[in-house]
Symmetry: D2
Subunit: 340 residues, 4 copies
C-alpha cells in the first residue's frame, strides 16, 4: 500500500502515519517527491485496510499496490497448469468443450443430449442435478437421482461429467459422482464451500461471481489451492452491468488478464452471459478467438420443453455448427504462434 | 410476460407463438395494436423464461410483467411487519440502531464497545464471530468462542445480539446464541442457507447482494418466508458500480421502493457501503432521512488495532453524536405524518 | 504514478523502465521493497499514461497516485467558494433550493409555477428552454421564446433564473437571459462547451455525467476555471448502474467526497435521479442530510399535461412540504457544528 | 407501454388510468388477466413517460413495449446498409479495417504510420486532429494543421481518412477534409452536433456512449438519419462497468443485437476498450469472430513518444499480424454461411 500525503501535510502528520503503520507491525518507507510525500507500506502479510490510514490528518489517499493471492499467481508458478480429467486435458494446448442441458430431467433426456454433443465433439458432459434458482417456486433439480443419471451417461458414452455442488451437506455425494465439480456464480464467495472444495479429490470449476473483480475471483481460487486442491478451472460467465440486451455482459478481456496473472486454465460460458440462444453462437466464437482454453455451452434437443433455461440452449445442429467454427478459429490461433 | 411481435410478423408466426405458450401450460391472450400484435401470457406459476419465445420467428421482444414473489409482497400482506426481539420492535413506528465491532476480538473488547454503544442509545449489539473474508489469509473470526462472548455481552448489558451465519454446518450453533441471525451479502443467493434460515426460530437479517436487484433480494427473502420463518429484516448495504470513491454505492432509493413493494422492515448499513469512516456519519443521516427503519453501524474504541475493517469503524464519541443527529432527523419524519 | 515490478524482474528490466520514464521527461525514483521493486514517477505535468509502462518486460502494474486537477482542489484553495447570484449565496452557510418545470411551456405555466415555488421558499427558478432529448421526435423546448419567458418570471417574481445551454451557437443568447447557466449531464465532457463556459460572465451549474467518476467531473470543472470563470456549482444527479428501480442511482457519498476534495459548492438533483415522483421527496431529505449545499427539484402544477418529464415533477403542495422538511433537517446539521 | 394494475386495484382506479391515457391523446386497451388487469397504451407518437402513470392509485408498474426509433430499424428497412467511401464498402460483405495514430503529430509521423498500415491491409486511415481530453492540460491536437496533414496522407496513399469532429464551430472545416467524420463517445448525446451531422455530406462514424444503452445509441443515430444523412456507421468501444482491469468493458453482444435490430453497419474499436496494448489483439480477434463489419485500431511506430494514448497503440508489426489473423477468422465466418 502507498499512502499519499496532502501537499500541506506537516512533519507531525507524516510522523503520525509512520507510527500508525508500525503499530500494525508493518514497515514504513517515506518517499519524498516534488510536490508531496508518499509513504510505502512493506512487509505486510495479507491485505492492508486502506481506511485505517485515510482518516489520519494530512492523508490524501491510500492506494493498494500488491495483490494478496499467492498460490494462484504466475509469479508463484510460471508454467501453465493443465488439468487431466479422464483422457481430457484442460488448459494450454487444446480446446475443451463442455456441453449438456441446464438441468437433468430424465435418463432419456440426458442420454439423447449426450449422444448429440459427443458426436459433435464435446469432450465433457454437463448436467445440473442440484439447481440454484432465484425463485423457490422454480424447478430445483432432480438431486441424487440426477447424479445417478450422470453416472449412467458417463458409463454409456465414456464422457467425464461436470455438475454443480450447492452446499457442504451434499458435497460428498456430488464428489462421488462428478468428474469435475462446479461452484456456481452465486457461491463464488461462499467461503465455507470453497474450503470444502480445497479438500476435494476432484477438480473444481469455479465460475466468476456476477460482480466479482478478477482479484476477488483469484482470491476465491486461492482458498481452494490453499486448502490443498490445485486443480481449479476458472470460468468467465458474464458480469452484471447497466446493459440489459443480454442477461449479463461477457467480459472477454478477463481471459487475457487471467492468463497473464495466473497459471490456471480459463474457459468461458457464453450461454449464461447471453441468456438467449441467438447470442450464444457469436459469443462462443469470440470466446475462443480471445484465447479461452474451452467453452461450456448449454444444449437441449427440445428446448421448448426444458425445465430450466430452455431459451438459452442451443439445438443439437446449432451446437454441431458451433463446434466446427470454434475449432477452425482455435486452429488459426494455434498457428499464430509461428508468427512470434 | 408480454410477447411483442414484429410489425411484419405474419399470422403463422402469431399462431406459432400462441402454440408455444400453450405447450408450456400457460394461457395466451393476443392483443392487436395499431402497428403490431402483442401476446400476453397468463396463468403461469413462477417466472417465465423470456428466451423461450425470443427465438421464435416474428418475435421482437419478451417483457416480464409480474413479479414472482408472493409472501413478501405488500399485495399479499398490506400491513407493515414489525419484528420483536426482546423488548425491541424493528419496523414501522421506531428507529432501531444496531452497533458493535466488525469482529469480536475478546470479551474485554466486546464489553467495552457494548458499554459505549448502549450508553449512546443502540438497542442491539452487533459482533462478528464467523467472518467471511475475501482472503484465506485474513483473520476469520473467533468462531464459537466469539458466540460465547456475545452471550456474555447480552447477559451483562441486556442488549439482544446480532451475528452472522456463514453455513449450514454452524447454523444450529449460531441459532443457539444469536437473537438475530445475519445472512451476509455474499450469501444472499446461497439457497441452501436460505432454506435453512426458513426453518430457524430466530429472525433473519438479510443483507442485499452486492449486485442484486430488488426483485432478486425479495426472492431471497421469499425463500425464508416460504420455509416458515416470516421474521425477515432487509438490510441495504451498497451495490457495486463503476464508482470507486466509496467501497460500494449506497442505493438509498431502495428504501422507498422496498417499503412500497414489501411489508418487511428495511434498515441500512452505511459502514460497509462507505468502507471509510468519514463517509459513515453523513450516509447514516441520509439513510434515516430517506425513511429506513434502522441503522447498522460498526463501532470500535481502538480502530487502529481492530482485526477487521477498523478503518470504517466509528469512534464511540462519533457514534454518540451520530445517534443524536439521526434521532433528530427521525423525529422530523415522524412529525411529517401530520402533514398529510 | 507508481510502477510496480514483478517479483522476478531483473536489473535490466528495472533499468529499462527508468529509461522509459526519463525518455518522457519525468523523474524516476526506485523504491526497493521486501519482495519486489516499485518505481515512482515524479515531476510529470498532467496525467501519465499507464499503458506506456504496462507493456514493458517485468512490469506488473502501473498505479496513478496524484490527480491532475489543480484549480478546483482544496489543496489549491482551502476555503469554501460561495457564489452570489442576486441576493442568494450558494455554498457553505445556507441551503439553496432551485425549482421549476422541466420545460417552459408558456408564460402562464411558468408564472403559475414560479408563484408556487417562491411561496414555498425556492430562491432560484429553474426552467428549460433548450431541451436535450433522447428522441428527435420529442418536444425540444421553446428556445429563445422560453428564455424571454424566464426573463419575465425574474422581472415579476424577483427570483434569479437557471436554464440549460446545449451548444456554442446559442451560448451567448442563453448568457444574456440566464442568471445561472446549466451544462447538462450529457454535455459534461463536451469540452468545446466547457471552454466557452470558462469565458462566460455568469456562474455555471455543472451536472455530473451519467458515468463520470468524481475525478472526471472535477476535471470538467477545471476546464471552466482554467478558462477564467471560477463560479462553478457542481450538481450530483445520479449515475448509471445495473439498478433499474430508479432512473439512475443517486450517489450521495459523492457529496462528502467532493466537499473534502474541492472548494466548490455541490447541490443535488433528486428528480432526474429518481425519474418518478414518489422517490423525489425521500431522496431530497437524504440529499440535505448528507450535506449538500442545495437542491434542484422539478415542480409542475399540472404534471399530467407537462410536455416533458411530468411524471417526476412534484405537485406544488408536495414541494411545499418537502421544503419544510429539508429546512428542518438542514437546521439540525447546522446545530451539529456545536458538537465538535 | 403496458400499465400493470395492482391485484387490489378497483374499477375506479382502472377507469382513472384509462382517462389519464386518453387525456394525453393515446388509446387505452384494458387486458383482463387471471390475477390482475393490465392496460395497453396504443397510438402514441414518440416515447411515453412511465412516471406519469406510476403515481396513479392502483398502478403497480409501467413497462415500455415498443422502441421510439424508426429510420434506423430493420423493421423500417430490412436490407443491410452498405456505405461506400472511395472504393471501400463498409457493411455486409467485407471486413473494413481503419487504423492510424490516436493523434496526428506531424506529417512525417502520419505518413510513416499510414505507410505501415496500408501495407498490412488497412483500408481507411484514422488520425485525430481535434482531441477531446479529460484534462485541459493534455495535448489537444493540431487542429486545422492536423486536417491538412490528413489530406496529404490521402493524396499520397490513396486511403480515405477518418477524423473526429468535436463541435459545431469546426464541423464545416472537418467536413471539408474528412472522408468519414467521427462523433466520439463523449458527444454521443450532444444533440446539436447530431443535428449538424444530419446535414453533413459525409458518412458519420458514431461511437457508442460510455454508458449508453443500445436504444439510446440507435436514437442518437436516428437524429442523424432524421436530419437527412443516412450514412451512419456504428462503433462499439466499450462501456463503463465496475471492472477495472481494462479501461472499459467491451460489450461484444452489442454486435449481434445491433445487427438484428438495425440495418446500419457496426464496427468495433478494441483500442479504447482495452486501454492497454496487450489486450488489443485478443479483443480484435474476438470482435471479428462475433460478427463485426470492421475494426478501428490505434497504431503508432514509436508509441513511447506518442503525444496521446501511446500505451494502447499497436506496433506496426503487431498490427500486421493482427490483420492476418482477423482476416483468417473473417474468412471462416464467410464460409459459415454455407452451413445454413
Amino acid at each position: 500500500m502507498l499512502i499519499v500525503m496532502d501537499q500541506k501535510a506537516n512533519p507531525q502528520d507524516i510522523a503520525a502515519v509512520i507510527k500508525a503503520i508500525e503499530a500494525r507491525g508493518y514497515t514504513a518507507r517515506p518517499i519524498p517527491g516534488g510536490e508531496r510525500v508518499a509513504i510505502g507500506i512493506l512487509n505486510n502479510e495479507g491485505p492492508v485496510d486502506a481506511a485505517l490510514f485515510l482518516a489520519l490528518p494530512g492523508v490524501k489517499d491510500a492506494i493498494p499496490v500488491t495483490r494478496a493471492y499467492k498460490l494462484v499467481s504466475r509469479e508463484f508458478k510460471p508454467e501453465d497448469t493443465v488439468i487431466k480429467v479422464g483422457d481430457v486435458c484442460i488448459g494450454s494446448g487444446g480446446l475443451t468443450i463442455i456441453a449438456g442441458p441446464c438441468a437433468i430431467e430424465s435418463e432419456a433426456q440426458a442420454l439423447t443430449i449426450a449422444g448429440h454433443v459427443k458426436r459433435s465433439g464435446a469432450q465433457l458432459f454437463w448436467g445440473g442435478a442440484f439447481k440454484p434458482r432465484t425463485s423457490p417456486y422454480s424447478f430445483q433439480g432432480l438431486g441424487q437421482e440426477g447424479l445417478k443419471i450422470l453416472a449412467r451417461v458417463r458409463e454409456k458414452t465414456g464422457m467425464p461429467v461436470v455438475t454443480e455442488v450447492m452446499d457442504f451437506e451434499t458435497f460428498e455425494l456430488v464428489e462421488q459422482y462428478a468428474d469435475v465439480i462446479q461452484i456456481g456464480t452465486r457461491n463464488m464467495q461462499n467461503f465455507s464451500l470453497l474450503k470444502r472444495a480445497g479438500r476435494a479429490t476432484k477438480p473444481i470449476l469455479l465460475k466468476r461471481g456476477m460482480a466479482a473483480t478478477i482479484d476477488e475471483w483469484l482470491m476465491a481460487a486461492e482458498y481452494i489451492l490453499e486448502g490443498g486442491n490445485s486443480n481449479v478451472i476458472l470460468c468467465e460467465r458474464g458480469v452484471r452491468t447497466f446493459v440489459h440486451h443480454s442477461r449479463n455482459t461477457l467480459d472477454l478481456s478477463a481471459v487475457p488478464v487471467v492468463r497473464k496473472e495466473s497459471h490456471l486454465p480459463i474457459i468461458v460460458d457464453p450461454s449464461h452471459a447471453a441468456g438467449r440462444r441467438d447470442q450464444v453462437i457469436p459469443l462462443s466464437r469470440a470466446s475462443v478467438a480471445v484465447g479461452a482454453h474451452g467453452l461450456m455451452v448449454e444444449v437441449h434437443h427440445d428446448p421448448a420443453k426444458a425445465l430450466s433455461d430452455g431459451g438459452q440452449s442451443l439445438y443439437p445442429d446449432q451446437f454441431e455448427m458451433m463446434c466446427r467454427h470454434v475449432r477452425s478459429i482455435y486452429h488459426i490461433l494455434q498457428n499464430r504462434k509461428d508468427d512470434k
